[in-house]
């Protein structure tokens, strides 16, 4: 069977990681990536040998003049691919959808787009099958992906009564921290409840959840506090097992020196992870708590990386490369080096 041809539209934080991840899969190939500028990010893509297309016609000549070996425009790329991964900034994906429809390609959108754009909000371990052979799906945001992974372990055991969570976002992403950051402050989100709760319900139907959010003065990743009311008392041991057994969750322990966001990222550096990425949700094992009514969890969400394996699985689901979500997850995880 020939490999699925994949293009990336928007080569930023998410786009460049999905591109790299596709190269690791044996059932897909990277046809090309688009860009709108000529900075170091796209220059490295060129050095790696990725085929580069201009996202818009107008950018093509500018990029060429700047020495980028542009092979055409998005239109040209769309002619060559089976599926496009839309990794453009918020709101642009929605504008692009008609173009993808016209080109008759399948497309995966990212979390900043609205659920309604595709009607399918995707987290592989929850609802892989929902996207099977469809044309479009949306991989939900990093925050929603993390909530869904963690809560799936409760939900599939019918433990869930009600979830309350406080989501603390990193101030901005590392690559743009010189211009889009904050200094010595904290910004509470005044939209209460925050949108992530309803967003999680587009994946785990019927979830009773309320989230509040805020942004911190660091850029290393998000951190979530979750208080999960359960239908019956859940013991620490069964909680630990349920989380351990769930894909793409990993335990970290303060007793091993993993006491803060920076030490977990240092672990990723020591493990040789590309870009020190952590694709798993890191749950603090020694902070797990439970009483007769609820369980308490705190976990780190590496926002730059966590949705990357989801995009790979979404391609497989949309293209019908694999019918069984668990098998796709296992395949992706093996290829990327995500181990339990």
């Amino acid at each position: 069977m020939s490999k699925v041809k994949v293009g990336i539209n928007g080569y930023g934080v998410i786009g460049k990681r999905v591109a790299d991840a596709i190269l690791l899969q044996d059932d897909m190939e990277l046809t090309g990536v688009t860009a709108v500028n000529a900075d170091y990010r796209i220059r490295v893509a060129a050095e790696k040998g990725y085929s580069i297309f201009a996202a818009t016609e107008s950018r093509q000549s500018m990029m060429k003049e700047a020495g980028i070996p542009v092979e055409g425009s998005l239109k040209d790329l769309l002619k060559k691919v089976d599926v496009i991964i839309d990794c453009t900034p918020k709101g642009i994906g929605a504008e692009q959808k008609p173009i993808y429809e016209y080109a008759r390609v399948k497309a995966v959108f990212q979390g900043a787009e609205r659920h309604e754009l595709t009607g399918i909000s995707f987290v592989a371990q929850v609802n892989y099958e929902e996207a099977l052979n469809k044309q479009f799906a949306r991989v939900v945001s990093c925050n929603t992906t993390a909530l869904c992974r963690v809560l799936n372990s409760f939900n599939k055991r019918s433990w869930l009564k009600r979830v309350r969570a406080v989501l603390l976002r990193r101030g901005t992403d590392p690559w743009e921290s010189h211009r889009d950051g904050m200094i010595n402050t904290f910004i509470p989100e005044t939209k209460v409840p925050s949108h992530q709760g309803p967003d999680a319900r587009t994946v785990i139907k019927g979830l009773d959840i309320t989230t509040m959010a805020g942004a911190c003065s660091h850029n290393l990743s998000h951190v979530h506090y979750a208080m999960v009311e359960t239908k019956r008392p859940i013991g620490l041991d069964e909680l630990r097992y349920a989380l351990w057994e769930e894909p793409r969750l990993a335990f970290v322990r303060s007793s091993n020196g993993l006491v803060a966001l920076n030490s977990v990222i240092e672990l990723m550096r020591d493990l040789g992870r590309p870009r020190n990425d952590m694709w798993e949700v890191a749950v603090w094992e020694d902070a797990l708590a439970a009483d007769e009514r609820e369980t308490y969890l705190v976990f780190q969400v590496h926002n730059e990386a966590i949705t990357v394996p989801e995009n790979i699985d979404a391609i497989r689901s949309l293209c019908g490369l694999e019918k069984d979500g668990a098998k796709s997850i296992a395949k992706t995880d093996k290829a990327m080096g995500i181990l339990k």
Copy 2:
């Protein structure tokens, strides 16, 4: 009636603020403060004309040689005062208590000491009367004080069913941020539930509360997220009124540009507050939310300042200067410039 004579043992973040606040009261006077070193902080106290005592005998000569006009040691200070405000670092207060007992002075301890040290954990608007004419009381920590002020408005209306809160601490205090800080990270507290929940129960008896905590990479103040389950649905209007009516809470609004910790502190600067202190808990009015089961609040807690008026009221209660808590609060607030 002669003024109550007050001494401060430990001239740090809290001690220096309590000293300044005492000077503003007409029923107390500042007899002196102790120190253990000769740095700029105690030099300013000397310039202001505060009487300075060495916390220990051994420090006396060192401080004198460094040019600090030391008038004696703690022992000497204790002979001159009616009440001592112990503002020493965690754990030292407990060691000092026998000395205060021996000297037959009343004493107020701070929040890092354990409840059992005095048996009275004090937040003026909740339990002023509990400390009346007693020898010892403990003003609770900044975090617990804030929780008690906010929850008192629910509790006195018998609204409270169960409280869940996430408390985000500043990384360290501004004055020591060059040596005791953190950079670009977040430290989740692995003790879950965190100690502030049980601590709040020493003030508001029978409170059903669970807290989780963590520390951020900023130094400007704490921020709390509270999800308060209520016995009956509480409307936004009655919630707003209950909070508005409660002493030492103040509303801030994002719509006025007060969108983050730094903008609220800038307001304190513009208001001419000493040291840009905010003695009130600042509740984001436009982030208040309520549904049929619970209410949601986010508030800023200026940890350096918030317990200062509490210390003044605690003096009044211990010394029996005023029997009515509400009157003491009003008097303190007027003297310090805390307005509704």
Copy 3:
């Protein structure tokens, strides 16, 4: 003699401080301030009783609707004042100048405007007399003001041969640190030499200086490193005397615990300075060094505050209230609480 009537155009970081400083002078009065919005900053001005004008006609109704007691527009304010202090953002001052000319008022501009706008770049202790009875002057930027104050002590003794300085700017101002900051990085300025060197030459004519610059991830103030080549070897004692004798420089000592930007600002808080402002350049006395060829200095520049007394002196010079710069400086310093 009646007081000089002063208006402030642009009520931001600099404008609000100059307004407050004018109130402390006995030879000037604050006629009003302009604003373009209705946020907490201008609300506090209203609460303080400052007369408020809309910077533009179009903003007037918006501000009124938002409850700000607007008394008119800039045009109305200009009719009432002798001198306007233009504290608008970069470039806007230049646009306003024709309006001030038309209104026949004197005007002081700030450091982001170009020297050519007024032809007079002002630092009181260097060239107060240059602005005497003129219509327009520019108070130079915080960085240039600091350099000029420090180097004046060398220049007036004919010590100066050549100056090299590295200027490290705060990332952004505190009030806007939630939206205009940076996280965990440092931005080198690629314009080398940076503009502050030439700018200092508009004040101290003939100065041989080269500056390089960069921006740090803190918001507390700037810090400068200066290496000053001298015509003859300067001893540490005469260097110390020269700096001590110079107005608006103050020594800080690490040995007193003043070891970093935050500790010096904490000193300002302890001293009761409004908004913890430091109007002086703080020179680290125990970091002063000298060898047979040059002297080495490191100093802190509180960018929010340092040009405020300069604005007061500039008013006095333009309006001819005082002919002797030293007398104006002494008068301003006494009124504001700047002591040697």
Copy 4:
């Protein structure tokens, strides 16, 4: 010829990187590493299959109980190696030297030790030959290494007259940023001149240099500002060529989006560098400047990584594996992936 057997004493920031780098060389092998604790860092080493030894006898049982597969103590490791790389914290290396002498192994020390400990301060491209077949050498600190690399390009052309540099250190290293950091401040070093100037003279003899230093609130790497007086005017072109031709310097350009420390580190992430390490000194090409008297440079120094290739070369020099420094450098650089 059999491979040189290398041990690492002290598995921290430097030790773990040198260990990984040794594995990439074909003329050396990693015999083992020592540790004093059982945290995630040494657990990853065990997972990678590195042989682990306890740094002290007393730690051996503790580490074993914690599940670390300890193969013996430092004493045992020393019996198996030809050369030990001492990467212990400041001052401990000096204590270890007699032990290495007794074991008759060669040893490389790091920059926190004093020059006098070995009499040879090593930067490969400057003085590789000085360490040839000696028993001990010291790889100088990250700051000194960077200065020596940059200034070597001037020195070997006899351009140098006098160097002035301001060195801005990162606040702390990423892995310990939760406990050893700073928040929103800057610490000027009060020792002026700072020690790096004299330290550079132990490598480049006769260098006329003065350095000043300070520490910033970020953890991403150091940045240096250098003002280099030259014996004759140096044009920008020849400056650029001299730097380009020098090993282990790399140009970065703001015009390519590399505008701050974080963007250069993002480039390392995109390049797939392990731990996002940058072994080269990154010189901002578009900030290079020159006038008739001096040249001006600003460069980024990735302190965690920059001395790693130096350690490899130092092994080769001490063990006489290669007589020609340029060849060793080329070999190391090829193995590690350092390209021009």
